[in-house]
């Protein structure tokens, strides 16, 4: 299996993001801290074949988010996301 076959998109983590944010997040827009491009969360690249979830910018492939869940806790690294914008 090629790595490219494992690439999903933000739709695949809609349930996980809703657990965390308690809102529908695939229509939220994320600004990449690396290249500055803005994408809908539904459109970003997502890899689930890691110890956590890895979310990458579809334009420059920089990591936007890393999300790990375990032992009743979440760890969310948003270093690569300059801004996450969504409706109230």
């Amino acid at each position: 299996m090629r790595q490219s076959d494992l690439k999903l998109d933000g739709n695949a983590i809609a349930g996980l993001l809703r657990e965390i944010f308690t809102m529908e997040m695939t229509n939220a827009e994320t600004t990449c801290a690396g290249c500055g491009k803005v994408h809908a969360v539904g459109r970003v690249d997502v890899y689930l074949n890691a110890p956590g979830v890895v979310v990458r910018c579809p334009a420059c492939e920089q990591v936007l988010m890393r999300i790990v869940r375990g032992r009743g806790r979440y760890w969310i690294d948003l270093t690569g996301t300059r801004c996450l914008e969504f409706k109230e």
């Binding site: 690439k7 999903l8 739709n11 695949a12 695939t26 229509n27 459109r43 689930l48």
Partner: protein, 250 residues
Amino acid sequence: MARAAVLGRLTWQLGEVAELIQETPRVSSLVLDVPDWPGHLAGQHVDVRLTAEDGYQAQRSYSIASAPESAQVTLTVERLPDGEVSPYLVGELRTGEKVELRGPIGGYFVWRAGEERPLLLIGGGSGIVPLMAMIRHHAATAAAAPVRLLYSSRSIEDVIYKDELARLTADDTGLAVAHTLTRSQPAGWEGYSRRIDGEMVAEVAWPKKDAPAVFICGPTAFVETASSLLVESGYDPAWIRTERFGATGG
């Protein structure tokens, strides 16, 4: 209904299997009665969770195939031989049994019947499922937007919803369907017989002056090929929404 469908904390609930429909040798539809279902939008999915006796849990996402107008929630699931969840849902689960699910989930890959732009749907394999919810929603509401579907399957036996698509096309609901069969074709086949390419897209897709709404769903490589072909043909990437199944399903 739309509001209820996108807001609030998600909770796991039980759906009872009212009916099982074998769509193809590897694909079945699970028609579920879900008490207090808040309603959904065409294109949304649910998460399904299985729990083993020792407490081990496996969870997967499945697209909703039924229209928002339907009282029951239908999931169409492809059985993946190495999967953890799908071999149970397709093969072991029986009518009257219950499955644990939460949803509806998602808001990006969603089409509403009030949308008037022409609709272009491109599906590969079981990527047809969320597109079928849109087609059923379109038919149930007698929506004005014309719909074109380009649907790629391996063989005629693998075409999900074949009869229903033929019926909706014949009923003059504004739906036109182009099939392509990539591996084998029956005698006298009049559809396409190859993987999706630029010529096929040029023949099926709306002209770019129509600024259509586009939804593409299927395996990752299929989705990327189809969306690249459309952008190369002059489509604005903002018109295109995609959902990738990848190879991690199960």
